[in-house]
């Protein structure tokens, strides 16, 4: 280990996250490999190591002969200060080598608030920030992940971006890079050829022009790059790789357990939800396979908990068999089975009672909106009767802790909808009074609201975000109408939501804002410890951009969106039809009760949810 590093580590918090050496870390001979990749996660170790996507890609990339993929995370601020003060560049955990020794540097972009951290990691690794400053072929800096569905805000920093699922695509890009390295291609040649790989977006091959009002006029490809880049996906999800021999961190991480991915995509189609649109079409694994993968993962990791993770787990067809199969293994070994993202319906509660044999956790529901009218408008197919029935079963079964999540500022929301949230909380409380088995233990109902953020590739991508003042007015209105002692109300701050809104729907000009904020000290801004709103407003001003243009401005349906050259599977026609129905307050059936032809099926050879 580096002598300087050895001196620093005893002084920083949780040093084990900076050393590597965990069980099942992949070590290869660096002199024998042909290509070295640094998989960078723009957040701290505990967050990055909890990311299932990163776990899968670490495995699939390392499965390539002659390629060694290592992990890089952002240091917490104490460690970063020490590293900068002692001239230690950002390094990969496996080898301890700095970023400059890698051929490919890939970032996972899963949330917009991590953007400044990407710049910070590049800088700490001694890598020039802008693609245009990196004239050599190596290192290639690229990015993937769900936030790339609007690649524009980070476009100037990336040599290329990979859209959609990376299991196959990343390896294709790295194979091409290996060839280019061997044959001594220059960077422009590599990028031109890479742009021919389906799913690859090379920002520098697209020229963006703006109208006088600041909206995008045209995005023009050059050098044969495609007009539209279509996301990639794994078509044979049943047989796509899922590593059961994953790294087991030696220090506690956020999701410190086995994560089993039941399916990709979601049949629900909530109109505010980006994940529900961009991961389409639905593809699932058989319960037999999942039981086998779950048991093997538990056996090989030694974890005492397993969680079933997908966008809406209770929509998994074989959930009963899956839970039974896993419980047969888990119960005798005191292993906990957790089932997040359940829907508030009877079927889910039945499952819930079965899986909570080992340990009993709290219950969380996300009705999202306070009235049936608004829930219908956003296509959140949950009725208050279902929610209350679920609570009744839960309270009768001994639960006494319920969390309820809502959004404020949804399109068409009125004060009546806001007050409806307080009503639901009251009804849940009343339900507890009538059904609790032991009232002496009390009840805790937590209501949380966040500020709605319109996201690209959703039916609400054209909508205005409510202003911070308006959000806070609705927060006050709600706060004043919640009286019960047992109901706790938490609300997210409006500042972060406003910035996230700008970043998620931003155009290429936002790149300069991100850079300014980073230069002013911004990093790890997904953590409230480090987020500072004034840095963002100052940066926007310095760049001559208006926050309201990106947030509270309602887009015209004919306006060209900055991400219109990216196809994530759902067509604009579908999104517009869904938007219209939102205004009419009309539900769309979930995918199983009627296909709405969203456009994603052809990407999977016409198949969906089979």
């Amino acid at each position: 280990m580096d002598r300087r590093l050895k001196r620093i580590l005893p002084r920083v918090q949780k040093p084990a996250r900076y050393t590597g050496g965990e069980y099942r870390e992949i070590i290869k001979d660096k002199r024998a490999v042909e290509l070295r990749m640094a998989f960078c996660f723009p957040d701290v170790y505990e967050i990055g190591m909890s990311n299932v996507g990163m776990r899968i890609l670490y495995s699939t990339i390392n499965a390539m002969e002659g390629v060694w993929c290592e992990r890089v995370f952002a240091p917490w601020d104490d460690m970063e200060r020490e590293m900068r003060a002692n001239g230690i560049p950002l390094y990969a955990l496996e080898s301890g080598d700095p970023l400059t020794q890698f051929d490919a540097i890939g970032f996972s972009l899963g949330y917009e608030m991590a953007y400044t951290t990407v710049l910070d990691m590049l800088d700490l690794g001694g890598i020039p920030l802008h693609a245009s400053e990196r004239t050599e072929l190596l290192p290639l800096v690229f990015a993937g992940g769900s936030s790339c569905c609007n690649p524009e805000p980070m476009a100037e920093f990336m040599d290329l971006m990979v859209l959609g699922e990376g299991e196959e695509l990343d390896n294709e890009v790295l194979s091409l890079l290996r060839t280019a390295k061997h044959e001594g291609w220059d960077k422009p040649r590599f990028l031109r050829v890479a742009a021919e790989i389906p799913g690859v977006y090379v920002p520098s091959l697209y020229t963006v022009e703006y109208c006088a009002d600041g909206t995008v006029a045209a995005v023009t490809p050059r050098c044969g790059a495609p007009e539209t880049v279509t996301k990639r996906l794994v078509t044979d999800f049943e047989n796509s790789p899922f590593p059961t021999d994953q790294i087991v961190p030696s220090t506690e991480i956020v999701h410190d357990r086995v994560n089993l991915e039941l399916f990709r995509g979601c049949v629900r189609g909530c109109r505010f939800c980006q994940a529900g649109q961009i991961y389409r079409p639905v593809r699932s694994r058989s319960s037999e396979k999942l039981v086998a993968q779950g048991i093997e993962s538990l056996r090989s990791s030694g974890y005492q908990e397993i969680t079933l993770s997908s966008l809406s787990s209770s929509d998994y067809r074989g959930l009963g068999e899956l839970c039974d199969g896993l419980l047969d293994y888990c119960v005798p070994r005191s292993i906990g089975l957790a089932l997040p993202s359940l829907r508030a319906d009877n079927f889910s509660m039945d499952i819930m009672q079965r899986v909570q044999k080992v340990r009993k956790s709290g219950l969380t529901f996300a009705p999202e909106a306070g009235t049936q009218r608004l829930r219908d408008a956003i296509n959140k197919n949950v009725r208050e009767e279902d929610l209350l029935e679920s609570c009744r079963v839960a309270f009768a079964g001994g639960w006494n802790n319920v969390k309820l999540y809502f959004m404020l500022g949804l399109p068409t929301e009125t004060d009546e909808d806001v007050l409806g949230i307080a009503q639901i909380a009251n009804d849940v409380l009343h339900c507890w009074r009538e059904n609790a088995v032991n009232k002496n233990r009390g009840v805790r109902i937590t209501v949380s609201t966040s500020c709605f953020i319109p996201k690209p590739h959703t039916p609400f991508q054209w909508e205005a975000q409510v202003s911070r003042e308006e959000y806070l007015r609705r927060v006050r209105l709600l706060r004043e109408s919640i009286h019960a002692r047992n109901v706790v109300y938490n609300w997210h701050d409006a500042e972060t939501s406003e910035i996230e809104c700008i970043l998620s729907r931003g155009d290429r000009r936002i790149g300069a804002v991100i850079e300014q904020v980073w230069r002013a000290g911004g990093r790890l801004e997904a953590w409230s410890d480090f987020f500072r709103y004034d840095r963002w407003t100052q940066a926007l001003e310095r760049c001559g951009l208006d926050a309201a243009f990106y947030t509270t401005r309602r887009r015209d349906e004919r306006e060209r969106m900055p991400w219109d050259h990216i196809f994530m599977g759902v067509t604009k026609r579908f999104l517009l039809r869904e938007r219209e129905r939102a205004y009419e307050g009309v539900l769309s059936p979930d995918c199983r009760h009627g296909c709405e032809n969203c456009g994603a099926r052809p990407l999977n050879g016409g198949a969906c949810d089979v």
Binding site: M1, K6, R7, L9, P10, K14, P15, A16, Y18, T19, G20, G21, E22, Y23, E25, V248, S250, T251, E252, D256, R299, S300, S301, G302, Y303, Q304, R333, S334
Partner: protein, 220 residues
């Protein structure tokens, strides 16, 4: 079936940064991975019965850690160290597993080695200064306790201590009290910082070498 088993293990290299709490979790998973079923406590919230005799500070190396545990079934004790080591993170090595370990309260002394690094001072001069400093009758230092600051004399907790000058560093070898009172070797450096700052090293690290009872017989 053995009622109680004791594991002796080493914690070295990158593993020295794993905290005590994380090590407990890691051990639990290691047994699971090695296919050895730990016995769980009874009660509302069962947890595996594991206990590390002398918790080790983060950043300290050790070749003599001891941990007590119980298994639910029979196991081949001779084969266990290899099995466990294969399931452990880098830097943790199982050395031996045996039944009927001595009572924890009979553990008294700890042999440690240390490396005191000096970037600008002459190691020979430092060695002489250190030797003289630790020969004092009493070494009273300020210590943070749960109730604020307290004073304590660490001299009685040092059974023997010696120094040797090397390149850019002074090697320390000592036998210190492991419990009643516990002397964390880091306090040897704190003492220098408080009472003889000119002798304080730029960096220090320690290694636990062996544990003994009151009569300096190796403790197992």
């Amino acid at each position: 079936m053995y009622e109680k088993l004791r594991l002796r293990f080493a914690k070295e290299g990158r593993a020295i940064y794993i905290s005590h709490l994380d090590l407990m979790r890691t051990m639990q998973r290691t047994f699971q991975r090695a296919g050895l079923a730990l016995k769980y406590s009874e009660g509302f919230n069962p947890h595996p019965i594991l206990s590390i005799l002398l918790p080790l500070s983060v950043g300290v190396h050790s070749g003599c850690e001891l941990m007590d545990f119980q298994l639910t079934g029979e196991a081949d004790l001779a084969a266990m160290p290899e099995k466990l080591t294969a399931a452990m993170p880098e830097g943790i090595r199982a050395l031996e597993v045996y039944p009927e370990g001595r009572k924890v309260k009979e553990l008294k002394w700890l042999r440690v080695s240390g490396s005191l690094e000096y970037d600008a001072s002459d190691p020979q001069t430092m060695r002489d200064g250190l030797q003289a400093f630790f020969a004092r009758e009493s070494i009273v230092i300020r210590k943070k306790t749960k109730r604020g600051e307290g004073e304590s004399d660490i001299a009685p907790a040092i059974r023997s201590i010696g120094f040797q000058a090397e390149e850019r560093r002074v090697a320390l070898s000592a036998v210190i009290s492991a419990q009643d009172p516990t002397l964390n070797p880091d306090l040897l450096v704190s003492a220098l910082g408080q009472l003889a700052p000119q002798l304080a090293p730029d960096f220090a690290e320690f290694t636990r070498l062996e544990v003994y009872d009151e009569a300096m017989r190796v403790f197992r």
